[in-house]
Amino acid sequence: MGGRKGRGGKAKKNSPGYKDTSPNQITLKKIPLNLLATNNNGSLLAFAMNNLLYVLALESKQFLTIDATQQHQLILSSIEFQKDNTLITTSHDRHIKIWEINNELTSIKLVKSFNTNKKIIYTALSDKDEILVADKCGDVLQYSLVDDSKNHIVDLTVNKQSKQDLREQDKNLILGHYSSITDIRFSRDFKYLLTSDRDEKIRVSNYPNAYDIEVFCLASEKYVTKLLMPLNKPSLMISGSGDGHLYLWNWLEGKVLQKLDLNSLSKDATVIPQHYNSNTNLLAVSIENFNIIQFYQLSENQLTLSQSLTLPVGSQPISIDLVGKDQYLVSLVTMETTDPFVLSINTTNWQVETDSAIVQLINNLSIPTFTDSTIFKTYLHTIEKKQYRKYISGTDERKQRKDGDDKMVEDDLIEDDDIEEDLDPENRPSKQIKLDTNI
């Protein structure tokens, strides 16, 4: 039955018919930093600049030395500290890398690197030396960081199996959404896995038995941008959405506790909850294309968020993390070469500062020169992972095809005879159905 032909109208990215129609083409002259991450004891800060990993010792204010040949080949997708001196990074180059930092906090060494054959978009670390990886197709795969025998990875240079065969037999696949995943988080006790997608849904799966879905958190009217799990309030989850709202959930019950409208701040706001501080119950939120950070206070008793502060920061925040007890570090969208990579917010007086030692150290980083101008074009989209919130197979394609819709392939047709006239049930001839069985 091979006679069916595909429509073949799809314009591939590199074909002459493909046009990049994203509305806001931004020309960057400087690549912003993203993926700010600090370790638990607060001694180290890690971040990414395109494919490069940087680690900064906060006490000595020195960048750790790193072998440039060990860096990822493509833009980083995630940086996570597993322990205080172990770092896991993933990248669009399909690799997971495990790094170890020496006790003196002066250098970082690659311990292990393996190719997953998947374009990694989001990750979450389990409590049992496993990493969960969401790829661009909406699948979530689990890899062991210590036991290679659990990672069924086929060497594509040796094995000639098709990609589809590999996907269908992938033993590392633990769950999948039919649309792109936009974030992945564990509950504090690692008994549940939360995955959000661009079709408005947040799925709560049991873990490790992820085939058993516990509940869906449904309320968003557009894609979910990001999930935050407050460590001091394990029953709560915070999500943002392209519908302009911030949601506070009792995630295990799939219940919205509070829905905050941020459309008054910016029309058609895309709300991104960036950071939750378990010590102060402060939530930092950014809005796409909007140069502010909005802070909310979670009340201890009522479990509600109230707006506490709006801070203009000069450019759109990309990533926010706490450095030390009373300083937020914020990485910003940079346009001109003179724009700062980062700034800090002093929480004792809520002043935006550009002159703290760490900020100056980072802002004085040399800007790598990229020969490929397309990197600049797509970079912002890529670091904000915007493309995974957009439609997978565009509606444009559908519009183009509309004219052809009435054409049919003959063998697809249902004949009129097949549609039986609906008879009064009493007059309906009783059907004799023969059932043969075959084991």
Binding site: G6, N209, F216, Y391, I414, E420, D436
Partner: protein
């Protein structure tokens, strides 16, 4: 709607009948595409949560008889109902259940809507066909928007699109990842029926149901005595199309179990066929 010469004639013939009686829904004038891309973003009418969907517009007679505070709850879903053959037959076989056909192609849904409306009208006194309806939706994406956890007692997958090309296997209605969603909306003990005239696709669906920890094939004598089984074999338009060419059909019934420990070890899985 563009009309060809032949279809215009059909309309004229129909309109010459007395206007008072409701016309039988006729197959849409257009030849209809047999496939739709489930990954594409079509326009659908759905709510964020199942509790927000207004079922009274789908089952007006049933909902008018509801007591205060009661809601219509769909118990049976015919996924990819096509021209509605099974949905209509189920109305009589499961008279106490609320049955919903789900279909992604707009014109086919229009047809089934008309068909059900006509059936209800013709059987007004007998109060028949009030328990069936149809919605245009994408079952691969939007099931959790329509059904709560454990809501469905029966779910049917009849002659789904085989998507032969390997690159399109992800579009098949049964896959390990989608089975997790179907398991979520099904009640414990609920039954999933599937049938295909394409052996390759049947084997694919069978293998995935068999290996899913939350599904267990039901005993053969149970399957053979199930009143819905004859319907999946012969009631749908697609089934009749297969009969017309004397084609083969493969089918099976699986049960939603509450946890993997209920899965029967060494169960002898079997396949039912029409030959």
């Amino acid at each position: 709607m563009s009309e060809t010469t032949t279809t215009t004639n059909t309309i004229d013939n129909k309109s010459s009948k007395p206007a008072a009686t409701k016309k039988r829904a006729i197959k849409p004038y257009h030849k209809i595409k047999a496939h739709a891309n489930p990954a594409a973003d079509y326009e659908f009418d759905y709510k964020a949560k199942p509790s927000e969907y207004d079922w009274s517009k789908k089952y007006p007679e049933l909902s008018s008889e509801l007591k205060e505070g009661e809601r219509i709850k769909v118990q049976v879903a015919d996924v990819g109902c096509g021209y509605g053959g099974l949905t209509v037959s189920l109305s009589q076989t499961l008279p106490d259940k609320v049955i919903l056909g789900m279909e992604i192609r707009a014109k086919v849904v229009e047809y089934v809507e008309g068909r059900i409306e006509k059936l209800r009208e013709d059987n007004k006194e007998k109060k028949l066909y009030r328990n069936i309806s149809v919605i245009k939706t994408n079952s691969m994406k939007l099931m959790p928007n329509f059904f709560e956890k454990g809501q469905l007692e029966k779910i049917f997958f009849l002659f789904p699109d085989p998507h032969f090309k390997k690159a399109n296997h992800k579009r098949r209605i049964i896959s390990p990842t989608l089975l997790a969603e179907y398991a979520y909306i099904m009640s414990i003990g609920g039954l999933a029926y599937f049938i295909s005239d394409v052996q390759e696709l049947y084997e694919w669906m069978f293998a995935h149901f068999k290996s899913h920890p939350l599904f267990q094939q039901i005993d053969k004598d149970l399957a053979l005595s199930d009143p819905c089984v004859p319907l999946i074999v012969n009631s749908s338009e697609e089934a009749r199309k297969v009969n017309r060419i004397e084609g083969k059909k493969w089918y099976a019934v699986f049960k939603r179990i509450s946890n993997p420990s209920e899965k029967i070890e060494n169960f002898e899985n079997y396949t039912l066929t029409n030959f």
